[in-house]
């Protein structure tokens, strides 16, 4: 059993004290930012990229994964106590969770979210470890035209999954693709779209774009909303422990949520939100006391939270095995790999097995840490929620510019931060999703590389793109992703559920 041997050596990597420390820092930071409104895991990883440049790759990546998992936990705390989801995958949790908190059952709501997240995260990480080698085996035989088709699929699913219309998603995606063109073309040495500005020759930094869109854009839209957005924190009253009935009502939703979340996250289908919506709908249908839904049903917290975390682990499958990011955080983690000169994909499993398996093993550890830390520290997280917004957003902007200056101490970089920040504000104002812009920027150049490689092999014959059965299947799936929502509308007469981004 190669997988278990590899995972075993990964556990040895993850258990090194320094890596345990990185995992701990990651989950603490991740939970904190998940709790705070306005900053999500994508932004945090982006801000930390320049700082970790000089650190050990394995350690930093373990920390990033900890932030990713921690952000998912923290988001549920904000949803339940504040009714403002800290990150979008927790929107559904807020529906029932906040009602429970108002009814004085905030403790059990937090507990079922935390334990459900742990159960789901653990099962899904096992799934990741089991599936990854198989996907790698398949992917190793992929030609460049298959990779190109795979990226087209990622593009379409990311655009169709996020945002309120496919047009809006594709618009965001193409903005990202256009930004990805900027800089020197590596194959021909020609400068593209850089208008003789030397700073543009290296292209647009993923960190700068992500920090601008998430931090500056978010701050601008919150400040523009003025007094519109008022928040009430629900104090945690009573016991934080779940009683026998809570357990009885929670364990099935946890498992169902996991089995919804992991496959959807693992498909290149983008994001952790859709399974949370599905899980909520499923639990509502299966619940023996449907009247409680809408008034604080524990199933409505347990299921979606499990789905959310299982999907978060699922997203790592395409990222690690194919180098295909399907969420904003995954896109930035891909940038994290690239900053160390590594490209996630089948080859990484062969060239850096310790790093990959160490990362996967540390996910188990991060999950365990989160379970142990989360409930006892609830008081601390609640206090984070109480930070006055002027200071919170002031601090966010300080750290946003700090991260940008740390990566590249140039005023043009700061100017780009401002311009992309304004872009982020406009996109939010008109309901355009953010994640496809980031995914487009990072995946666009990779897609172009595969496209040109495929066409170089065929000496320019574009038909090569449509000859492999793998590629054709992937194009069919892309078409389904694009026109699926329309089909759903025609068949059921209802709009397809869509997620929002920022996870």
């Amino acid at each position: 059993m190669d997988t278990f041997a590899a995972l075993g050596s990964g556990v040895m990597v993850a258990l090194q004290p320094i890596n345990l420390l990185f995992a701990f820092v990651g989950v603490m930071l991740g939970t904190a930012v998940g709790v705070l409104p306005g900053i999500g895991p994508a932004l945090t990883v982006a801000l930390l990229l320049p700082i970790t440049f000089k650190l050990d790759p394995a350690g930093s990546l373990i920390m990033f994964a900890g932030i990713y998992y921690g952000g998912m936990y923290g988001g549920s705390t904000a949803s339940i106590l504040l009714n403002t989801p800290g990150e979008s995958a927790s929107i559904v949790t807020a529906l029932e969770g906040n009602k429970m908190a108002r009814a004085g059952r905030g403790g059990p709501a937090l507990a079922t979210a935390a334990i459900g997240s742990f159960v789901a995260g653990t099962i899904a990480t096992i799934g990741l470890a089991l599936i990854a080698p198989t996907v790698v085996d398949i992917a190793i035989s992929f030609g460049p035209e298959d990779y190109f088709a795979l990226m087209v699929l990622a593009f379409t699913t990311v655009s169709a999954a996020f945002g309120s219309s496919v047009t809006r998603g594709l618009t965001s995606l193409f903005l990202g693709l256009s930004l990805g063109l900027i800089g020197i073309d590596l194959q021909s040495g020609q400068a593209r779209l850089s208008f003789s500005v030397p700073d543009l020759l290296d292209g647009v930094e993923v960190t700068t774009l992500a920090v601008a869109l998430f931090a500056i854009g978010e701050t601008l839209s919150v400040v523009a909303a003025g007094a519109r957005a008022d928040e009430i924190i629900e104090p945690v009253k009573g016991s934080v422990f779940m009683n026998r009935e809570d357990w009885k009502r929670s364990w099935k939703p946890w498992l169902r949520g996991t089995f919804l979340g992991f496959p959807i996250g693992a498909m290149p289908a983008g994001g952790a939100e859709i399974p949370t919506f599905l899980s909520y709908a499923l639990e509502k249908r299966l619940c023996k006391k449907p009247g409680e839904f809408g008034n604080g049903a524990i199933e409505g917290v347990a299921g979606p939270e499990a789905a959310n975390n299982a999907a978060a682990a699922g997203v790592l499958v395409p990222l690690l095995t194919l180098g295909l990011p399907t969420s904003a955080t995954a896109a930035i983690m891909l940038a994290g790999f690239q900053q160390y000169g590594m490209n996630p994909g089948p080859l990484l499993f062969a060239t850096n097995p310790d790093l990959v398996w160490g990362l996967i093993a540390s996910l188990f550890i991060a999950n365990g840490m989160l379970l142990v830390l989360n409930l006892p520290l609830v008081g601390l997280w609640v206090r984070l929620l109480a930070i006055p917004r002027p200071w919170l957003y002031g601090g966010i902007l300080v750290f946003a510019t700090l991260g940008t200056l740390g990566a590249n101490p140039s005023l043009i970089e700061l100017g780009m931060l401002l311009i992309f920040g304004l872009l982020g504000y406009v996109l939010r104002r008109y309901d355009y999703p953010i994640a496809p812009v980031v995914v487009g920027l990072i995946l666009g150049p990779l897609a172009e590389q595969q496209l040109r490689r495929a066409l170089a092999i065929s000496v320019g014959d574009p038909l090569v793109l449509f000859q492999s059965p793998v590629a054709l299947t992937l194009y069919a799936l892309s078409a389904l992703a694009l026109f699926g929502p329309l089909l759903f509308y025609i068949l059921t007469g209802r709009k397809a559920p869509v997620g929002s981004d920022e996870d």
Partner: protein, 161 residues
């Protein structure tokens, strides 16, 4: 953000028309660059202009699609944005760049950013927040310069250490 779903009224959505127009412009710029690159002989099956040409075409189609949606969905009642607070935040960001350009250093420039942002969110006084922010950023500078060896812009304050 969690704005309530906008309701539609008569007439097209002007904001999205502007976005469609901007996309069309972007399509032209990318297309022009692709055309310029296609004139350069690179001795390969696919030159550097091919991918930009595809993107330019995509942008043009999206400009059209956005314009169509703007008409179909009609004008939206979006909540009005507060200009004053936004101006403070933008002033903070622009002020930071200007201060850095004049060599004020990280602590002073970013202290101003903190103060202006806090003011935008309705918390004054500006000078008090500026002092606190500058001290905080000075500490950050020391941590980053000494601990992580990251080069942040230095000014008169930073040269004291």
């Amino acid at each position: 953000m969690s704005d309530s779903r906008p309701t539609s009224t008569a007439g097209p959505d002007k904001g999205r028309f502007v976005i469609a127009f901007a996309l069309a412009l972007l399509s032209l710029v990318v297309g022009w660059d692709a055309w310029r690159l296609s004139g350069i002989n690179t001795y390969s099956a696919v030159g550097p202009g091919a991918f930009p040409a595809i993107i330019s075409a995509g942008l043009a189609l999206l400009a059209l699609a956005n314009a169509v949606e703007a008409v179909r969905e009609g004008a939206q009642d979006r909540p009005r944005d507060e200009i004053g607070p936004m101006a403070w935040v933008l002033g903070g960001l622009i002020g930071q760049i200007v201060l850095l350009a004049f060599g004020a250093g990280f602590a002073i420039a970013t202290g101003w950013l903190f103060a202006a942002t806090a003011k935008g969110f309705g918390r004054g006084p500006v000078w008090g927040h500026f002092l606190v922010g500058a001290v905080m950023c000075f500490v950050i500078y020391v941590v980053f310069a000494k601990g992580l060896q990251l080069a942040l812009p230095a000014g008169p304050l930073e040269r004291l250490i």
